[in-house]
């Protein structure tokens, strides 16, 4: 048995008085492609930040490839929510993607870093935009730049926070298609509230609302969804490319 990509044991995190995460256990093996869904403020971003080492859990332990998240820096690719960004910052696409190479230290020459960044841009089909200031890109392009930046670090695991929250459906599908291809060679964790679309691409799916409901399977059980969302199941089960819930007799109410 190889070392798990992510191993979380009994992880809890509180913000002031409120529990954000409560006794979360998670085991991810290399090559997994996990989609985490859940309501807003359900702790999705917090969970990612704990795996990244940006936040320290109040209780429990986290390991990334058998090391603490802090020591695993540089092996994790991170795609943050892009709304967080100031798009008018004076930086062009190529320089932004090159940020992904910083973990290699300065021994890596400028030319090699540049080439690696261009390869990553090729993955997301944005080589032609390399010299554009980031504010001139569309939402979908910027989203792909964020993915390219994470890929440029040649990570062993890729964590994405709502990668399609701000893009239209067509771009969203191309982003997911890209992730599906990438997941052949690396471990991917994807957080979204876009339950229908992600269930089409991910290998396993989990629900998170303070507690994590995860059964290492691709199918959501009504119990998981109800526990996570606290609302009638059929609200979240409609209009998807394929069924994520086992059929149930009466639909729509």
């Amino acid at each position: 048995m190889s070392i798990p990509a992510v191993l979380m044991r009994d992880v809890s995190y509180r913000y002031r008085e409120a529990a954000v995460l409560e006794s979360v256990d998670l085991l991810l093996n290399e090559g997994d492609f996990l989609g985490i869904i859940g309501p807003n403020a359900g702790g999705k971003t917090t969970l990612l930040k704990i795996i990244l080492g940006l936040l320290e859990p109040d209780r429990g332990s986290v390991e990334v490839f058998g090391r603490s998240p802090r020591k695993a820096r540089g092996t994790i690719g991170y795609v943050p929510q892009y709304a967080r960004f100031e798009s008018r910052f004076p930086i062009d696409v190529l320089d932004m993607v090159r940020m992904g190479r910083l973990g290699r230290g300065r021994r890596e020459g400028a030319r090699k870093a540049r080439e690696a960044a261009l390869v990553a841009l090729e993955h997301v089909d944005l080589v032609d935009q390399a010299c554009e200031q980031i504010g001139r890109l569309s939402g979908g392009q910027l989203q792909r730049v964020l993915i390219a930046r994470a890929l440029a670090s040649e990570p062993r695991i890729l964590l994405l926070d709502e990668p399609t929250a701000s893009v239209d459906t067509r771009i969203g599908q191309s982003v997911y298609g890209l992730l599906e291809r990438l997941s052949d060679t690396l471990t991917v964790v994807l957080v979204s509230h876009d339950i229908g679309v992600i269930s089409r691409y991910v290998k396993t799916i989990a629900c998170l609302n303070v507690r994590l409901h995860y059964h290492h399977s691709r199918e959501l059980t009504p119990g998981m969804v109800e526990a996570a969302y606290g609302c009638p199941v059929d609200l979240v089960a409609h209009g998807h490319p394929h069924r994520v819930l086992p059929s149930h007799p009466v639909e729509g109410g």
Binding site: P80, I91, M96, R149
Partner: protein
């Protein structure tokens, strides 16, 4: 107007201004993109505590300013890294307390009370010659640091979280940035006074930001804009004084000139962006 160049004080003012605009272009770029303008103001005024203490304890006031400035930078930096929020209030306190300490220390000092206000407003026309060398040294140091650490500094200014995840020493670089800001502010206090220093740290970089799409070009452009403001301000105020007998303090005149340039630049860039969009 070019006759001004025959005067040694004018040559020195011009040299000081040009040297200062390089430092301000580099540091100001970070100040503007990282929104550290109030931090740099706070550090400048915290340095006054050191000036007063220098008078009281009998060591060079600018050494006190440097120590106070750097310690405040460290304090503010650690507070920002730890608490993230509510820093604004803390900076205002550092700002006021620094001034208060300076005034109290100076009043306790033996002999005639030194004129702290001359530090506050400074005067580019009376730059002590040795400060030309200090400013040149500061420029060299800044060029060296930015030359060696450009990518990391850019990354930290743009996206701290990602930089940390990628393995960049974010905390250290942030403190380095604050330390360099403090150092720049302290040197500039003596060269141009604290008010012109803050103006030169923010206005040229803000103008450059309208037009530059990369951080390195923004630094160069901000330095050039600062140099143009200072040169134009020096010559124009000299010309007004000689030509029409209208004496106008040079430092404040430079600030108003820069602010006017900012207004024009903002309008032009707004128009350019609209045109590009259509």
């Amino acid at each position: 107007m070019l006759g001004a160049l025959e005067y040694e004080f004018f040559q020195r003012a011009l040299a000081a201004g040009l040297l200062a605009s390089v430092a301000c272009g580099i540091v100001g770029t970070f100040v503007v993109v990282r929104r550290m303008a109030s931090i740099s103001g706070g550090l400048a005024h915290a340095a006054f505590g050191g000036i007063g203490l220098g008078y009281l304890a009998g060591f060079p006031p600018m050494l006190g300013a440097l120590v106070f400035g750097l310690l405040s930078a460290l304090g503010v930096g650690v507070a920002e890294l730890r608490f993230r929020q509510g820093l604004d209030t803390l900076i205002a306190m550092v700002w006021a307390v620094g001034m208060a300490l300076g005034i109290i220390f100076a009043s306790l000092a033996p002999g005639p009370t030194p004129d702290l206000l001359s530090y506050l407003f400074g005067n580019i026309l009376f730059v002590p010659p040795v400060y030309l060398w200090f400013t040149a040294g500061l420029d060299l140091l800044l060029l060296l640091v930015v030359g060696l650490r450009y990518r990391e500094l850019q990354a930290v200014a743009f996206d701290e979280e990602f930089s940390w995840v990628a393995g960049v020493p974010v905390a250290g670089l942030f403190l380095l940035l604050l330390g360099l800001t403090a150092l720049t502010v302290v040197v500039l206090i003596r060269v141009v006074g604290v008010i012109l220093a803050i103006a030169l740290l923010t206005i040229p970089a803000a103008i450059a930001r309208h037009w530059a799409h990369r951080l390195d070009r923004m630094m160069v452009l901000a330095s050039v804009v600062g140099a143009v403001c200072i040169t134009a301000g020096l010559f124009l105020s000299y010309g007004l004084s000689i030509g029409v007998g209208f004496d106008i303090p040079t430092g404040p005149f430079i600030i108003l000139l820069a602010a006017a340039m900012y207004g024009v630049s903002a309008l032009l860039s707004f128009a350019a962006r609209r045109r590009n969009r259509i």
